[in-house]
């Protein structure tokens, strides 16, 4: 008996996956647990291991093809079994469901004829509805019935040609509005979408360039793909809504419009900026763009800022240097401080969901890690209960895995709070975008010597850091956030308390 291999759910949030590479070929013997494909989810590319054993009868998904969860991507079975090339016709229940009322123009005449000439009354019902489908006299009526049916089930309607073109042009059909019967996406819609995408990219690039995003002159304007990537990182957060909008608008992957039929080629985006090139977003980038825009659009956020004296942390690190390995970074100290403070402030560790506060039992702190062209947030689980050195070890491991592209979706999931640090790049302070459904994100600037006022009122130079806490105001209010931030500051200014805790 053949077994169908379906597109697996590899992450909680994935709705579709892309078969990046097949590791087996038709005819290969596969054992349960053997890697058979690399599948790109919305978060990462993962190796998928077979749940069953057998011989690969056929691979139904092409490499690069994106399919929804549950779609059959391959079949395993006995060597003797024949592949089933033709899938059973699906969805075309039009024949069965065409109401008799949707009869052809000539319905009266034909019905009469049928009654007259087809004495088998039981047959005449089906005959009439079948005739309505193939009956030439009734294309409009048939279409109307079909349309109603198609609209009701929410499936994406696209002609085979439209699907092929979309694949070739890198257009996400879900973003295209269909103009055909029943909202079917046809060739013209895909071509229009490709043109519009090319045009809007130009517009956004111009918007980004002219805005005070980077302060750079036009010639140094970021390319559209830079804008998209940046929007996913905190760096771009300062850019404001225009930038996020750019990220969203460019999220459908683009390809040079030259791939469209020559007649449909939009003008090349040349001009003052010279020729532009386009880069497609990979799935991670698409996810970042979408989620960040969603956050900005739905989360009423506000930020609290506090300068924290880091001399004690510096001293602690100096004293631990050479004694424990790995030496905790400032960021590890912040992670630990946050985790402990979250214990006392459960709403900062919670979620605003469907009109309720959702408070989480575990405290899992995500740490934002940059990877070329992407930003990932691996999770330090139960950070409040892990010793500092364990956190240090854990963060190093996670960062390494992110950089190597080995991080797996479970390691990226489950965070209840996020810490983002750009101090290593010399950034003094910044805000970030809340990572929904989390209630808060804490940003960490550079630990640097800064003028400070000593206890006796004299000026001095001390190492400090600016922490910025961005909060979802639906669940955490100003005073709550301030108290949480104060607790974090207190822990960082007296870090020995952290070593004693948890």
């Amino acid at each position: 008996m053949a077994v169908e291999i379906v597109m697996p759910r590899l992450t909680d949030s994935m709705e579709e996956g892309t078969v990046v590479r097949w590791l087996v070929a038709p005819g290969d013997r596969v054992e349960r647990g053997q890697p058979i494909a690399e599948i790109e989810t919305d978060k990462a590319t993962m190796t998928y291991e077979s749940d069953s054993s057998g011989v690969v009868l056929e691979l139904l998904a092409e490499e690069g093809e994106t399919l929804p969860l549950g779609a059959v991507i391959a079949r395993l079975g006995d060597p003797g079994e024949a592949p089933v090339h033709a899938a059973p016709p699906q969805g075309d229940g039009a024949e069965a469901t065409v109401p008799e009322g949707a009869a052809p123009q000539a319905s009266a005449l034909e019905a009469t004829a049928q009654r007259a000439s087809a004495p088998d009354a039981s047959a005449s019902g089906t005959t009439a509805s079948e005739a309505a489908v193939s009956e030439p006299a009734a294309p409009e009526a048939t279409d109307a019935a079909r349309d109603d049916q198609e609209r009701s089930d929410g499936r994406l309607r696209a002609s085979p040609l439209a699907r092929r073109l979309a694949r070739e042009l890198g257009i996400d059909l879900a973003t295209v509005k269909g103009s055909g019967p029943g909202g079917r996406i046809v060739r013209a819609d895909v071509e229009a979408a490709a043109q519009a995408a090319a045009t809007s990219t130009m517009a956004e690039a111009a918007a980004v360039a002219s805005g005070a995003v980077t302060g750079a002159d036009e010639s140094a304007a970021p390319t559209p793909e830079d804008a998209a990537v940046a929007a996913g990182t905190e760096v771009a957060d300062r850019a404001g809504a225009a930038n996020e909008a750019a990220a969203v608008a460019t999220s459908p992957p683009l390809r040079p419009a030259a791939d469209i039929e020559p007649t449909a080629t939009p003008p090349r985006p040349e001009g003052a900026r010279g020729a532009s090139t386009f880069e497609e977003l990979d799935r991670t980038q698409q996810t970042i763009a979408r989620r960040m825009a969603e956050s900005k659009a739905t989360v009423p956020d506000f930020a609290l800022e506090r300068t924290v004296d880091m001399e004690a942390c510096r001293e602690l690190r100096e004293r631990l240097r050479g004694r424990i390995d790995p030496l905790p970074t400032f960021n590890d100290l912040v992670v630990k401080a946050c985790a402990l403070a979250l214990r006392d402030h459960p709403r900062v560790n919670g979620s605003y969901r469907d009109g309720r506060f959702e408070l989480h039992e575990r405290i899992n702190v995500g740490i934002a890690v940059a990877r070329p062209n992407a930003l990932l947030v691996p999770t330090v689980f139960d950070a409040d209960r892990k010793p500092l050195v364990a956190i240090a070890r854990e963060t190093r491991r996670l960062v390494e895995r992110v950089r190597r592209g080995e991080i797996t979706p479970p390691e990226l999931a489950g965070g209840t709070f996020t810490v983002s640090n750009l101090g290593m790049f010399g950034v003094d302070r910044f805000t970030a975008i809340v990572n929904p459904p989390q209630a808060a994100i804490l940003t960490v600037g550079a630990v640097a010597p800064r003028p400070a006022v000593a206890a006796d009122g004299s000026l001095c130079v001390r190492h400090s850091v600016v922490l910025t806490l961005v909060l979802d105001h639906r669940i955490v209010y100003g005073a709550d956030g301030a108290q949480f931030l104060a607790r974090v500051a207190e822990l960082l200014e007296e870090p020995l308390a952290m070593l004693a805790a948890g």
């Binding site: 034909e110 004829a113 087809a118 030439p136 006299a137 092929r164």
Partner: protein
């Protein structure tokens, strides 16, 4: 049925005929005359060719296609038969196996059902069953189609019956020129050919080159060039499709390509596929019933081979799925017309019928 009015071409010796051909390159003649010319020319060219059927001699054929041939070629070569369809075809199969080239006529395609045993089990399969030793170079001519108030049993369009059977070639000419050219090649072919003529076409006039030779089977005719949609019309529906295409261009600005396959087996699928890959849309028009029909088969072939080029479902137009009514209004309502083709084309383009 209107009586045959055009004079039969008087018998001329071959040499004489050759002499008159050169100047008169093209004449306008009827489908009926074109068929008669083909029969006559092939009988003159090959003495093994003979005709057999009900009322084809003295009466000149129910549709007057063979009018005058008895006088010209005599009873040996133009043989009237009793009402005995299965025997007529069976005789033809035997004669063909014995080296003759019979052209048998079944008065109505509907009556061919009586001869299906000989057509399917003998004509189509003898060559295969005997390892290729005998061939069956015969032609079975039969008029099909509704529109003449002849009720359910005289109005069938059953191309699909014969298309279904391996071993038979099937021709469905829609113009006088095709009728002549294809009948000539049918007579010369070593295989049994089911030659289906449409009753409503017999009086249709068209240009036919005087020296038109045999036309190859398996070559579709592109009757009209277009870029928005491909319409394939079978038999008389090729004519209807062409008229619909003219109206589409005039009233709706739609550029329709019209293809007449001319022979269903062999089928020139390449020409149809090439067209569909350009227009991305296909409307198939036939006069047969919708289920298991020529259009159903063609739709399957096209989606198998041009799926990724389709921008809309393939539309099929066929007669109503009912026995053909006798009443004129009902019969007309059950038949495909130009406006049905127009509506289907607009539907496939996603445009309302307005």
């Amino acid at each position: 049925m209107s009586s045959e009015t055009s004079a039969t071409t008087p018998h001329r010796p071959p040499a004489d005929e050759q002499a008159t051909r050169a100047p008169a390159a093209t004449r306008t003649i009827t489908y009926r005359e074109a068929l008669r010319e083909a029969l006559r020319e092939e009988m003159l060219a090959d003495e093994r060719v003979f005709l057999m059927g009900e009322d084809i001699g003295v009466f000149g054929g129910a549709f007057k296609v063979t009018d005058g041939l008895l006088a010209e070629f005599g009873e040996e070569r133009v043989r009237d038969t009793p009402i005995s369809e299965n025997t007529i075809v069976g005789m033809g199969v035997g004669a063909a196996m014995a080296g003759m080239r019979p052209v048998v006529e079944i008065m109505q395609l509907s009556f061919a059902l009586l001869a299906l045993d000989q057509i399917f089990n003998s004509a189509a399969h003898v060559r295969y069953m005997f390892g290729g030793q005998p061939t069956v170079p015969m032609v079975i001519r039969m008029p099909q189609g509704a529109g003449h108030q002849l009720g359910p049993t005289h109005s069938h369009c059953l191309e699909s019956f014969f298309l279904h059977v391996p071993g038979l070639l099937v021709a469905v000419p829609a113009t006088p020129a095709d009728a002549k050219g294809l009948l000539k090649s049918a007579i010369r072919d070593e295989n049994p050919v089911v030659f289906i003529e449409h009753k409503s076409l017999y009086g249709m006039r068209g240009e036919v080159p005087a020296d038109l030779g045999p036309l190859r089977f398996g070559e579709a005719a592109v009757r009209r060039r277009g870029s928005d949609v491909t319409i394939v019309g079978v038999s008389r529906m090729a004519v209807v499709a062409e008229r619909a295409a003219e109206r589409l261009a005039r009233d709706h600005g739609v550029s329709a390509e019209v293809i007449d396959p001319r022979t269903l087996r062999p089928l020139d699928l390449d020409t149809i596929l090439e067209s569909v890959r350009r227009t991305n849309r296909l409307v198939i028009v036939e006069e047969g019933w919708p289920h298991g029909g020529v259009g159903a088969n063609l739709a399957a072939l096209v989606q198998e081979q041009a799926f990724d080029w389709l921008d809309a479902p393939i539309e099929r137009i066929a007669r109503a799925d009912v026995p053909m009514p006798y009443s004129r209004p009902l019969e007309q309502a059950a038949l495909p017309h130009e406006e049905n083709v127009v509506a289907a084309v607009l539907a496939t383009l996603g445009r309302g019928a307005g």
